[in-house]
């Protein structure tokens, strides 16, 4: 037991001694890990912020149920209420004939077009927003079929095309994000593994000598793994710092642009768990990097 404790202590100590006694190499590894994580983390941040934007896009999606012309306001309101209970419906807004006319005037600018008419030709309608899960062609079809069965509804406009476009856009963004994420992840892992591999190579003599004085495989290797993990964690912390600095610097610019283009989506940074994930990813990269680096190292026996 005492022996085991002594060995453990000695392993941890020599892991940290490694960091200390080759500061330049360690710094280089830490820097590389942090650069890799800035790229990966920045990308994750972008995707997570884009999620909000997509979300807003999706909120634009609605089904409009035009009401029969003879319907009384009370009946229309009752209909709107019954629509609210349909599964997949998130929000319902009633647009009366007058409201429709007002909107038409607004959008066509002036509305001189309808001036000569003696009565309002525009129908009342119920605008239906869908819950997120239904914002797919299939989900939409379910809601539409439920709505079309309701009495008082004369016609449904549901922008099938728009939904398909939206669904494909979301799928495209997701696929791209996942694809790029995988590429970035592999790139980060390879870069980190390469860096640590070179650092280990520079110390191959050391590994060999340790083996020659009777150190077991794990006694030689564990300090390198500890070293890699610590470097990774430090690199993760540094990446977080860099990302946050970049975020603060970029925010004014981005907010201005995003607001104009996409409305008032507020950009957000990593929360505590996200930040922890970055550091953990760093440690993981460092550990994995040193582990893969050691596979190729000559063992001295």
């Amino acid at each position: 037991m005492k022996r085991f404790g002594a060995i453990l202590l000695s392993l941890v100590r020599s892991g940290f001694r490694g960091l200390q006694s080759s500061p330049v190499t360690s710094a280089v590894a830490v820097l590389t890990i942090s650069v890799a994580l800035v790229l990966g983390g920045g990308f994750a941040l972008l995707v997570s912020n884009m999620g909000g934007v997509l979300e807003r896009f999706g909120e634009e999606l609605q089904v409009v149920a035009y009401l029969e012309d003879g319907l009384e306001p009370d009946e229309a309101r009752a209909l709107a209420d019954s629509v609210r209970t349909v599964e997949g419906v998130a929000a319902v807004a009633l647009v009366t004939k007058d409201e429709a006319l007002r909107r038409f005037r607004e959008t066509t600018g002036g509305g001189a077009l309808l001036e000569g008419l003696d009565q309002n030709p525009l129908p009342a309608s119920v605008e239906v927003r869908l819950i997120e899960a239904r914002r797919t062609p299939e989900g939409l079809a379910v809601v539409v079929s439920a709505l079309s069965g309701l009495p008082g509804v004369s016609e449904l406009a549901h922008g099938q095309e728009w939904v398909e476009g939206y669904a494909r856009f979301v799928a495209l963004v997701r696929t791209t994000a996942v694809g790029l994420g995988i590429v970035l992840g592999i790139a980060a892992l390879m870069i980190v593994a390469n860096t640590i591999r070179l650092a280990v190579y520079a110390r191959e003599d050391e590994i060999e000598i340790m083996a020659l004085v009777g150190a077991s495989r794990s006694f030689v290797r564990i300090p390198f793994l500890i070293e890699g993990t610590v470097q990774g964690a430090v690199g993760g912390g540094l990446a977080l710092l860099l990302l946050y600095t970049g975020y603060l610097l970029a925010l004014p610019q981005l907010e201005y642009g995003l607001e104009l283009v996409l409305g008032n989506v507020t950009p957000h940074f990593f929360g505590a768990s996200g930040a922890l994930t970055v550091v953990a990813a760093g440690s993981g990269l460092g550990l994995l990097g040193s582990a893969t680096a050691l596979v190729g190292a000559r063992s001295g026996s």
Binding site: R13, R17, A211, L212, G214, A215, S301
Partner: protein, 242 residues
């Protein structure tokens, strides 16, 4: 099972610390660094290994602590058959053998005290104890005042003495020393050789490769002479203990 192996497993080797049986080692196809070498070194024996440059002294020592595997033949060290030793069993064997390498093989990133202590730490000796024993050994080779320095700031002879201290610190059952006094002046050579021979009197089996005729004469131990990888001469001890 060959006749030799039956012998080995039945303990017929008695108190042999090291036995080689028709051992050859070839690094480059067609040439032999060692050729058909059969010899025995008993427990506690002190043996010199001589031979001109390239005769195979270092190669023989490397085979004994499993840094190389023989191309042919069998080697028994402390009861273990080197030719068949599993990779994972090598560290345990090496911990029972102290080695002074011809090129020292010190860890440049550690202090010399840590260099000596590392031999103890690999077997789990607590750090305090390891350092205390390392200090004692450094004192015996006259380097206690340099213990916090790194190998690269030491002179050649000083580095060599650190290597000797490291080999002796865990009181190994076998000591293999490859030209351990090549960088030492005659006075220090005697001091160090006395240190080694005192380990021998405490029961350590010692094999020292050396070119130094003064040492050979002074200690008058059994001398194995290699020539071109073959055993050329095996001179028994003269008993001329200094």
């Amino acid at each position: 099972m060959s006749g030799w192996e039956r012998h080995a497993s039945s303990g017929a080797f008695g108190d042999g610390a090291v036995r080689t049986y028709h051992v050859s080692k070839s690094y480059i196809a067609g040439t032999f660094a060692l050729h058909d070498l059969t010899l025995e070194v008993k427990k506690g024996e002190f043996v010199f290994l001589t031979g001109s440059s390239g005769a195979g002294k270092t190669t023989l020592l490397k085979l004994l602590f499993a840094a190389e595997r023989p191309s042919e033949g069998q080697i028994l060290v402390l009861g273990r058959n080197i030719a068949r030793l599993r990779e994972s069993a090598i560290p345990a064997l090496r911990r029972r053998i102290g080695v002074v390498f011809q090129d020292f093989k010190l860890l440049n990133r550690l202090t010399i005290e840590d260099n000596v202590a590392v031999s103890l730490e690999v077997v789990g000796t607590p750090r305090r104890e390891a350092r205390a024993r390392a200090f004692r050994l450094l004192k015996q080779v006259g380097l206690q005042h340099r213990r916090y320095h790194h190998p690269l700031s030491l002179s050649g002879g000083e580095q060599q003495r650190v290597a000797i201290a490291r080999a002796l610190v865990n009181e190994p059952e076998i000591l293999l020393a490859d030209e351990p006094t090549g960088n030492l002046d005659p006075e220090l050579t005697i001091e160090i050789m006395d240190l080694i021979s005192s380990a021998s009197t405490r029961g350590t089996t010692v094999i020292v490769a050396t070119h130094d005729h003064n040492v050979l004469e002074r200690y008058g131990k059994r001398t194995i002479h290699l020539e071109g990888g073959r055993l050329a001469e095996d001179t028994p001890a003269t008993g001329a203990e200094p």
